[in-house]
Subunit: 142 residues, 2 copies
């Protein structure tokens, strides 16, 4: 029987995060001691490890929920699992592409700025005048 702290340590999760996963229904409600403390078994530990690993790979909690549901029906086709992973890969690729564009623009800005004073700073000029900017960026974030 594992306390929540042990679970946390074993999976590299914060205690509050585990409680949060329980709250949103990603982790099951575990048994309790007489005093009301959570006690877990190996199944729950595995589930939490699965969740954490999927998080590390960038899957959203919603996607993880889907994967966990799918893995509960072992006889079904795994095409849906593939689709979830494929979707995740596409998202990651899109983020990389966007960040690459930002990286290039930032590098250009930095390399062009040889000014001393703020008044002549190319970086601020580029930020002020969108026209100076080569890239036409998508949405901010990521």
């Amino acid at each position: 029987m594992l306390s929540i702290g042990i679970m946390a340590k074993r999976t590299g999760t914060k205690v509050q995060t585990i409680r949060y996963y329980e709250q949103i229904g990603l982790m099951p409600e575990p048994g309790r001691t007489e005093g009301g403390q959570r006690r877990y078994g190996g199944v729950e530990l595995d589930r939490l490890a699965f969740i954490r690993h999927a998080r590390e790979l960038g899957f959203s909690l919603e996607a993880i929920r889907e994967l966990l549901d799918l893995s509960d029906s072992p006889e079904r086709s795994c095409a849906q699992v593939d689709a979830v992973a494929q979707r995740q890969l596409k998202e990651v690729e899109a983020r990389i592409a966007r960040l690459e564009a930002l990286r290039i623009e930032l590098q250009r800005m930095l390399s062009e700025c040889n000014a001393d004073r703020v008044a002549d700073c190319r970086i601020l000029q580029v930020l002020r005048d969108h026209e100076e900017c080569l890239a036409d960026h998508g949405k901010p974030g990521n």
Copy 2:
């Protein structure tokens, strides 16, 4: 004199976002009509455009605040501006590196899974057993 809606249209910002920027002190409190509606001038428009452009380049609101403060003292050295941009570039590069690792891992997972049934699905196996995974990922997100 520009209404908030015009400001929004000109800069591709949502009206609420502009009010939010005002709330957190990134945009100044503008003048008002007798009826209490915000009216802006060109200076505010430029400032908002600056903010949006910097956001598109991935700068945090805190970094943007810093850049705006710096651009208010045109006689100072622009070394600090460079430092902010440099920091941003480093962050972008770090995110790219992390996402690249995820991309590779996801591709590997997908290419290895030739199973039909969920029970044999490599993707789920990799997620279950961290050992199967090559990369040792950092923090989730980005």
